[in-house]
């Protein structure tokens, strides 16, 4: 599903590498937490999986594709199979909940009939049935993140990448989001989630990958957060 082979990455004008010789493999259907302090390389790890960045040395394989060799015009097709959610939700404030989700399908040229059928389904799945006409500004943070998850999942991706999805949410709301991600994981979607939330990691008991100063320092199945603030 995902394979990092001796991946190193240094950003221009920085002497310390963001990632140093990282090798690991994530299987289909896994739920993986990516932990580490700020600047440990979590974001670089995620950006490499989306090919927002390219590696300096080593190779990243996602869904069987070597991202360094993937041509620019094939990249969108890969991204259609990867859903992404963020701490700041990234919704379009001038579109309704349903339009935000539909946007993701419209821009990849899905027919209108499909969109009309799929959007309510996925809004129902994330627990937002009946809120399709609301604007994002009228929703709570937890609900906004559910819209973002609906948008990421509406195309039934094989992989879901979550960059601190509970970073802006209170603990109780976070639990709800985690339950939703767990449910999505159970449908067979691989989930990779970068987080700082100790409570969540300790509760879920999933595989934990820890980065420290760009190195892989821990890879533990059914692990705990372990990292002290």
């Amino acid at each position: 599903m995902i394979r990092f082979d001796n991946v190193s990455k240094t950003y221009p004008k920085q002497n310390r590498p963001a990632l140093r010789d990282v090798s690991l493999e994530i299987e289909k259907g896994e739920f993986v937490f990516l932990v580490g302090s700020s600047g440990s390389g979590k974001s670089t790890f995620l950006r490499l999986m989306l090919r927002e960045e390219r590696t300096d040395t080593g190779a990243v394989h996602v869904l069987g594709k070597d991202l360094n060799r993937l041509s620019n015009w094939k990249l969108p097709h890969l991204r259609r199979q990867v859903g992404t959610i963020f701490q700041d939700f990234r919704l379009l404030p001038n579109k309704t909940v349903a339009q935000n989700v539909a946007f993701a399908l419209e821009v990849i040229g899905k027919p209108r009939g499909t969109i009309r059928k799929t959007v309510p389904e996925v809004l129902d799945l994330v627990g937002l049935a009946g809120k399709d006409g609301r604007m994002p500004g009228e929703l709570s943070g937890g609900e906004q993140q559910r819209v973002a998850i609906a948008r990421a999942f509406v195309n039934r991706p094989l992989l879901l990448i979550a960059d601190e999805p509970t970073g802006n949410l209170d603990p109780q709301t976070s639990v709800g989001i985690m339950k939703l991600l767990d449910r999505i994981n159970r449908t067979g979607t691989t989930v990779v989630m970068a987080t700082h939330d100790q409570q969540i990691v300790d509760q879920m008991r999933k595989r934990v990958i820890e980065l420290e100063k760009g190195r892989l320092v821990r890879d533990q199945s059914r692990g705990v957060y372990g990292y002290q603030h």
Binding site: W73, H77, R79, R80, R90, L92, V107, R112
Partner: protein, 305 residues
């Protein structure tokens, strides 16, 4: 590609960026009107050239008995009838010559009196001061040199004059003016291009949220860039349309209405509506293509995959 979606995106973009869109439309319209105008001006000049060159002739002035003292070519006195006959037969043998008119001193005097009728000093010249001349019409007016090298300096020939030379000064001036128009045009096009590039940049920046999400969910770069390019093309199309309007209005104002040059200057044959209309599709095509290409190359830099 879902047309309705793309169209609504274009509408949003144009409205958000209204002042810049307006600036693009105006600068495209002005530069294209100027481009079309200078193109038409060149057409007009070449039109006039053809028209005038058809009418002008090469004149071979022959010696008159009074020329002997002041013209070196005529030191042997007036042209003899034999010399005249020889020149005429030589002329008619030249392939470039289309027609030869012979003008007698009396006829020359008549033309002279008609031309300067009513002016002071007209009576100072007498018919015997006038000279014989051949007026030669050439098949190709550019071939003047053939005549001049064959007859200039021959016994009995005072001088060979190409009337085209007189017109060339005028055409030189007109050509110069079209070059100035072309320079202004190049300047205007540069301004229009810079404005388009800037507008597209602002447009891309103000929609970076949307384009960011589009990238994220796997929209193709074609799909992401399309609304921006269409926006630029639409603004260019409106600008081109305005330019066409300006050209048509300009022709009407200069030639038929307004300045009424056609009725004031009857010697010049002005361009017809057909000549103007022929240029309009070109203006529209450039109006659409130029902004689209500018947008395309700008986006390559600002909307990376």
């Amino acid at each position: 590609m879902r047309a309705q979606f793309v169209l609504s995106e274009i509408g949003v973009g144009l409205r958000r960026n209204l002042t810049m869109t307006f600036a693009v439309i105006v600068s495209v319209a002005l530069s294209l009107a100027l481009a079309g105008g200078s193109w038409l001006a060149r057409e007009q000049v070449s039109h006039m050239k053809g028209y005038w060159y058809d009418k002008v002739q090469v004149s071979i002035f022959l010696c008159n008995k009074t020329d002997g003292t002041d013209t070196a070519n005529c030191s042997k006195g007036a042209v003899t009838p034999e010399q005249m006959a020889q020149i005429k037969s030589d002329l008619s043998k030249l392939p470039v010559v289309e027609k030869i008119y012979t003008e007698s001193p009396q006829e020359a005097y008549q033309h002279y009196k008609q031309q300067f009728a009513g002016q002071a000093g007209i009576d100072l010249l007498t018919p015997d001061q006038m000279q014989w001349s051949f007026r030669v019409k050439l098949k190709d007016p550019q071939q003047y040199n053939v005549i001049s090298s064959a007859f200039d300096g021959r016994p009995g020939v005072q001088s060979v004059q190409d009337q085209r030379k007189l017109l060339d000064n005028l055409f030189g001036l007109l050509n110069g003016m079209t070059y100035v128009a072309l320079a202004v045009l190049a300047f205007m096009l540069t301004v229009a291009m810079l404005l388009i590039v800037n507008t597209v940049r602002v447009s891309a920046f103000s929609r970076r949220r949307e384009t960011g999400i589009m990238r994220l969910v796997g929209a193709s770069s074609f799909y992401i860039q399309m609304p921006f390019i269409m926006e630029a093309a639409l603004a260019g199309l409106i600008g081109g349309g305005l330019a066409c309007g300006m050209l048509l209005a300009g022709r009407y104002f200069l030639i038929d209405g307004g300045l009424k040059l056609q009725s004031k200057i009857q010697l010049i044959q002005f361009l017809g509506w057909g000549d103007v209309i022929k240029v309009l599709p070109l203006v529209l095509v450039v109006g659409v293509l130029m902004p689209s290409l500018a947008a395309f190359f700008t986006l390559r830099k600002y909307l990376k995959v």
